[in-house]
Symmetry: C2
């Protein structure tokens, strides 16, 4: 593989010294880009796009061609694993994803088999390899997966839910069944992420979209425990470098201190927590990724710059910050505003990394 | 007015000694009850039911006739105020509430007038008076309002939103306009809540449904500041007793310590925070209300009892706990499960209030 020209992201994730704060954007390859919409229209539906390595590679690279982002993230969906398990994934307009064969009883859990990631999920690995070749060392490639609990919610509910009735009923009434499901999913996620690394992913992220709907106790037992198990099973070194792992539990800001014990390198943080407080909670043991409110991109480029400055100031001087939104970019954002965000991070952040030479005091104003 | 037979709720909200932990349930008068659905069918649509004092009184009392709850809460909607401001409230199936005339510019904010609460909102006051008479002192009546920020979100968006695009754009780009709107709404909420007290409400609650979607900084400036202003303007004594005020910011668990400074008597807590931690955060300066995961009601009565015990243990011995769900009851819950919840609170909680006599140790197990 080609040597990496810009390793700022990897260094920041490992809390190493950098010259500026690296930035990427959750869902950076997505609907807010007209070129994405054009490729998507050519592909057919959303899963057709995910399953086509050439087109998945194409949309992965689109935001990189527009903005000087510090990372690419594979274009894919977290539901590829349950799809490969034969649950019959479909997407309906306005309602989001659903499964034709939801997992509701012991027989259904027993029937599930861990997919062969090089075969049934080979299209993902092909896309990873293709993106790495096309990137030619410009920036690192992030691979990802959904967390076992998040995948289980979709698999048990079978379609969109606000109340999590079926998944929580299983968790509370049949915990052993939920644990059996989560165990299988953890095994699948480990194989899936390790294969992504083998094919070229240089950093990994686990999206725990639904961890935040649990009680603290249930979160630890049914989500965090399995993410911890996964991290223990991951290839942590590839091409002579450590492969950093980031955990992101949406709505999990109150649990950051517990999440550090998972063995991850970095934690994603949404915008409901000040990075000052988040950094205090994790006591600089891991890097932090975040946390601009995605709605700031609806405002003017001048105001975006002000808010970017606020987030940088909130993290403060020193290493260990990866700039991102606190959640995926909204599909109706003006791409020029995304450009303003990236530029603001790149021009404002060097001041936060020259602390040793220039003194800290001036970075501490709010 | 008749003397109050059961003042356990009022005492608990003021952190006074009680014999057991009082319990009520957010949305206790609602769709999960067949008798509610029958009355609703007679009324016409949802707002017809809210606007009819006799029927609103009837559904307010229905859960009290079924379960030995320790409080009644007025059946109404938080959008009565913007409705009275002439915005043309409507409810569409599946999409939730909307306004025909959303508030999007300075002219629209200027045009808004604070409603005459005895006239345009007279139907609410009539319902309050009627419920008090019908209750005949059985339990106290809770009055309520939405928070200014929450009302503003609905008024600016005009219909359901996931991204809060318009309301956050106004907050960020035109903060002075948002402040003008929030100022008018705060004035209206003060008059509205004070009128409810004048007509018989014995405790008040402010629902800040959308405070939790803000950054900590925006939350303090655009939501908490106005709730604080409202509390300063409220009648705090009626019929010789203090009228306790409870604030509930959905998803605001990380800000509880700041919320105490609002001058409230109690804070609502959702289930993503252990009450042990919440109590530690507020350092026993206010009472806490919560926080069973509403999905626990999908499980068996035995398991409901176990989880009720966990919540009681999590708060621990001593006064200042009002048992509730961490969010409104789901509409598809079996009413018998609600009965099991109320019974479990009433039978398990006395042990947490005899701590002086029997020692604390046995309540601390988890």
């Amino acid at each position: 593989m080609t040597a990496l020209e810009n390793d700022t992201l990897l260094r920041a994730l490992l809390r190493q010294r950098v010259d500026y704060t690296p930035v990427w954007i959750m869902r950076q390859a997505g609907r807010y880009l007209p070129e994405y919409r054009a490729t998507r229209a050519r592909a057919g539906n959303f899963m057709d796009l995910c399953r086509n390595p050439e087109l998945a590679c194409e949309v992965t690279l689109q935001p990189l061609d527009r903005f000087p982002l510090d990372a690419a993230i594979l274009f894919s969906d977290i539901l590829t694993i349950p799809d490969a398990m034969g649950l019959g994934l479909y997407f309906s307009e306005g309602e989001g994803p659903g499964f034709e064969h939801p997992v509701r009883d012991a027989a259904a859990v027993r029937r599930l088999t861990v997919p062969d990631v090089e075969d049934e999920l080979g299209y993902v690995m092909d896309a990873v390899g293709m993106v790495r070749r096309e990137l030619a060392g410009r920036v690192p490639l992030i691979g990802f997966s959904g967390s076992p609990w998040t995948l289980a919610v979709y698999m048990v509910e079978g379609s969109g839910t606000k109340s999590f009735a079926r998944s929580k009923a299983m968790l509370f009434d049949r915990p052993e069944l939920m644990h059996a499901l989560l165990t299988k999913l953890s095994e699948a996620v480990i194989l899936y992420l390790n294969a992504q690394v083998a094919h070229g992913a240089q950093a990994l992220m686990i999206f725990d979209t639904w961890g935040g709907v649990l009680t603290p106790r249930a979160y630890r037992k049914f989500s965090l425990a399995y993410m911890t198990r996964i991290i223990a099973g991951l290839t942590r070194k590839a091409e002579g470098r450590r492969v950093p792992v980031t955990l992101f539990t949406k709505g999990g800001g109150q649990w950051l201190d517990r999440m550090v014990d998972s063995g991850c390198d970095a934690l994603g943080v949404d915008w409901t927590l000040d990075l000052t407080d988040a950094r205090h909670l994790v006591r600089d043991r891991v890097a932090l990724q975040g946390n601009l409110d995605p709605s700031v991109l609806y405002t003017s480029p001048e105001h975006i710059r002000t808010e970017v400055g606020r987030v940088l100031t909130s993290y403060g001087p020193g290493p260990g910050h990866v700039f991102n939104l606190g959640h995926g970019i909204h599909p109706d954002v003006d791409p020029d505003h995304t450009a303003a965000l990236v530029e603001a991070v790149h021009t404002l952040s060097p001041a936060f990394h020259g602390a040793i030479r220039s003194g800290n005091a001036r970075h501490d104003e709010t």
